[in-house]
């Protein structure tokens, strides 16, 4: 609300004051307005949340693998309200599930992919000295941080109808979400996270529209920036409805309203004392109106990262760059009108389901176009298999599996047996985990030298890659089998009660668990590599990957204001192996020969 003031206040030029004055520690590393520092803050916080979210899941997988056995190591610390004698309670399982989803999506991937990579890389790639509104940028990080703190502390709350965090899934469907414990903190946390994303999105959009370097027309924009651009619009326009819905649900909890509570509710044998008259499905519409675009927020930056790395390591231009750009715009647009494919089982009639099935099938086409373009980019290339490239290449088939299994979910009839089973879990984890997370790993290995001036270790990187790649497939592939067999998701006992799960589907829980824990171990080389390389990695110059885009013309790490001279762009983003050129890469910032002489 007071953005107006901030938009204004950020606007002055600091040029003269900054040239000489050294910033203190706090202004330089903590309350920095430099997009690179903020980007790194976002990325580190996001990574920590990813690790935390993964840890929650490893605990859950224990319960699924060894139903009712005490949790080793940490079990005894969890307390009687969560795990008496170390044995997990169903309430706690539900909390872990809801928080795993929330943390991974809103506090892990989005902050890392958009807040981290977007902030750090995008202004460099467009040749801007910083974001358009540096103070808003700082504010959006700190609002996100606050939201994170609220979410984390919610595990310890005791005043909101019970102990612990939200336990109604990341989707928070009312009436359950209104009548169960811990949800208030979740809603408050979400309102912070949404506000932060809105501020960030606004900043990104203005930056891309206004601060592109001279000569950098839209069709010369690196694909990563296009991805961030479309993502910005998704965040800007899809998040407010969830913010509104969050306010309504908060009112239902705190002010006794019944927006989402119909009349005649009976909870635990007693009529619920509310006015009633609300609509439970309304929440689902508002939630998915955000959450479907949100899943594209998770994938588009990943596609952008993969495109950059593939172009760089194939040493040739992206095949069909233009088609990719049109596809990503179309994808962004369509993502606003498919949301109800998550709601086929809520009693949808033929007309509405026809509409949403059709849009869902249509939206798969631009994904196919983008993936096909990336795949064809490999043809005729001269591929280098370094760690970022391995992760980026793995993205392609993994996203393929995730995307293709979206098709049976998108057709209402085949969604009947699959809805809310582990098939859905497997579908979207293939897109977000070996998909997005792998792309993010690729991006970290790729841009690490830009951020630190040092390379990460290749051997540790390859161990990380192969370990993760093998384990993650053992985690998620069996879930398709479980889902087809009818095993439902969000089951505290992994569906052990049901006879249709008996045999193989149930047994698989054990192997999935083992693979998940092993994958946890394979993250250790990465964590070690990450921190050790900051200090002891091999020192590199500006352009270690011999890349063409603008960020590589700045020093590594870039100083305040990014570029030493004003960057000017002369050509498209991926001019690799140009016939007749002296090198196999012709950077965007390299003047034409005729101009060089001047």
């Amino acid at each position: 609300m007071d953005n107006v003031a901030t938009i204004g206040t950020t606007a002055h030029g600091h040029a003269d004051e900054h040239a000489h004055e050294e910033l203190g520690f706090w202004r330089k590393y903590i309350f920095s307005v430099d997009h690179k520092v903020i980007g790194i803050q976002y990325a580190l916080t996001g990574l920590l949340f990813l690790l935390f979210g993964f840890t929650l899941m490893m605990i859950m997988r224990w319960q699924l693998a060894y139903n009712g056995a005490p949790i080793p190591l940490i079990g005894q610390w969890l307390g009687d309200a969560r795990a008496p004698q170390g044995i997990m309670l169903p309430e706690f399982y539900n909390q872990l599930g809801a928080m795993h989803g929330t943390i991974m999506v809103f506090m892990g991937v989005v902050p890392l992919a958009v807040g981290g990579f977007g902030n750090f890389v995008m202004p460099l790639q467009i040749g801007a000295p910083d974001m358009a509104f540096p103070k808003i940028n700082m504010m959006s990080y700190w609002v996100y941080f606050l939201g994170g703190v609220v979410m984390l502390t919610s595990f310890f709350q005791t005043w909101d109808g019970g102990v612990g965090a939200a336990q109604s899934g990341w989707t928070s469907y009312p009436p359950l979400a209104v009548i169960s414990a811990g949800q208030t903190m979740w809603l408050i946390g979400m309102i912070f996270l949404i506000t932060s994303s809105l501020l960030g999105a606004l900043n990104f959009l203005v930056t891309i529209i206004q601060l592109r370097a001279k000569g950098l027309s839209y069709m010369r924009l690196p694909f990563f920036c296009w991805a961030q651009f479309v993502t910005g619009f998704l965040l800007l326009l899809a998040f407010p409805p969830l913010e509104a819905a969050g306010v309504l649900q908060l009112m239902d909890r705190l002010a006794g309203t019944s927006f989402f509570l119909p009349s005649g509710l009976v909870v635990a044998g007693k009529p619920l004392a509310v006015a009633g008259g609300g609509n439970a499905i309304l929440w689902q519409h508002l939630f998915w109106f955000l959450a479907h675009p949100e899943v594209y927020v998770l994938i588009l930056p990943a596609m952008g990262i993969v495109a950059e790395i593939i172009a760089n390591n194939t040493r040739k231009p992206l095949w069909g760059y233009r088609a990719m750009v049109y596809s990503i715009i179309f994808l962004g647009f369509m993502s606003f009108i498919v949301w109800a494919h998550h709601m086929f089982m809520t009693g949808m009639g033929t007309v509405m389901s026809t509409f949403f099935q059709t849009t869902t099938m249509i939206i798969s086409v631009p994904s196919v176009v983008i993936l096909t373009a990336l795949l064809l980019s490999l043809y005729g290339s001269s591929m280098r298999f370094n760690t970022p490239m391995l992760f980026a290449l793995a993205f392609l088939p993994m996203f393929g599996i995730g995307g293709l299994t979206g098709l049976p979910l998108g057709l209402a009839v085949t969604d009947i047996p699959l809805h809310d089973t582990y098939y859905v879990i497997a579908h979207f984890h293939y897109v977000v985990a070996p998909g997005t997370i792998f792309a993010l790993f690729a991006g970290i290995y790729y841009w690490f030298p830009k951020a630190t001036g040092r390379m990460m270790n290749e051997t540790l990187g390859k161990i990380h890659f192969w370990g993760s790649f093998i384990c993650i497939n053992i985690v998620f592939m069996p879930m398709f089998i479980q889902g087809l067999a009818g095993m439902n998701r969000r089951m505290y006992d992994g569906g052990a009660l049901y006879t249709h799960n008996a045999g193989l589907p149930l047994e698989l829980n054990l192997y999935i668990g083992m693979a998940a824990w092993t994958m946890g171990l394979f993250q250790l080389p990465f964590i070690v590599n990450f921190f050790v390389s900051i200090k002891w990695g091999k020192k590199v110059d500006r352009n270690p990957w011999q890349s063409t885009t603008l960020e590589w013309s700045a020093p590594s790490p870039p100083g305040h204001g990014n570029f030493l001279t004003e960057p000017i762009v002369y050509r498209g983003p991926y001019e690799y192996s140009v016939p007749g050129a002296p090198n196999d890469f012709t950077p965007q910032f390299e003047p034409e020969k005729s101009e060089k002489g001047r």
């Binding site: 044998g269 089982m345 099938m361 798969s364 096909t372 980019s377 049976p408 009947i416 089973t421």
Partner: protein, 248 residues
């Protein structure tokens, strides 16, 4: 493997067609994946740096990409208009008439399924939330003449084979989902709404009702039983229920 895909037993008339469609989609997925994957693996070997030291600026040529994309679109449209839309409209449009079908009310509640049969008179008695108690989860008003013969069971849905079944589904607290894996039936039970669900069981046997929507800490154990009986066995089930009511 692609013949049954680990799907549960088919025990309703439409189950086979749902499965057929699932298998069809999976064939499409497999063909696409193998096609793309084959190209991918080929490219990885053929165009590694060692095998192809100099990259080509132009790269792939030809209409190959357009062709596959078009094929994907066509296949999806066939699935959509040929199977999915008609299939769905049969599920949510072509409800059997109340007279020919077996009609039951199923009221979901944390964490059980209350089943309400109209009894011999074929009429459902009135119920009111003010009458709800531990013994009367539905709040059934037994003073209503229509309610006198109504049979109520918990977590136990018994139905005759080979007859259309119309379930009227509702919930009194959270959203639950009435999942019958072997029937290929799933429908959310949304408080404030009454949802019709229909199917024709065609296989005698004991099956399950699986709650398929997170509804609280007991979600995982909200399991019901579905018994499909022969017409005669179903009748004796109803008679037994009526007898029990008389004894009370």
């Amino acid at each position: 493997m692609l013949n049954n895909l680990w799907l549960p037993t088919q025990a309703s008339t439409h189950a086979a067609s749902v499965d057929y469609m699932i298998i069809l989609v999976h064939w499409l997925m497999l063909v696409l994946f193998v096609g793309w994957g084959g190209f991918f693996v080929y490219a990885l070997f053929r165009f590694r740096k060692g095998a192809n030291p100099k990259a080509s600026y132009v790269g792939a040529k030809g209409k190959f990409a357009k062709g596959t994309e078009l094929a994907v679109v066509v296949a999806e449209m066939v699935l959509l208009f040929g199977y999915a839309i008609p299939g769905w409209s049969a599920r949510v449009g072509a409800f059997p008439s109340e007279t020919e079908a077996v009609v039951v009310h199923v009221v979901a509640q944390q964490f059980q399924w209350n089943v309400h049969y109209p009894g011999p008179d074929g009429k459902f008695g009135r119920s009111s939330i003010t009458l709800i108690s531990a013994e009367n989860n539905l709040g059934l008003d037994r003073s209503d003449p229509d309610a006198k013969d109504d049979i109520v069971t918990i977590n136990q849905l018994t139905l005759p084979v080979d007859r259309p079944v119309l379930v009227r589904l509702s919930s009194v607290d959270a959203i639950h989902s009435f999942g019958l894996p072997e029937m290929r039936v799933k429908q959310d039970a949304v408080p404030g709404l009454e949802m019709p669900v229909w199917f024709i069981p065609n296989r005698i046997g004991d099956y399950e009702i699986a709650c398929s929507q997170l509804c609280g800490l007991g979600h995982f154990r909200m399991r019901g039983f579905l018994n499909i009986k022969s017409a005669a066995d179903y009748q004796s089930f109803l008679d037994e229920g009526a007898k029990e009511l008389l004894q009370q």
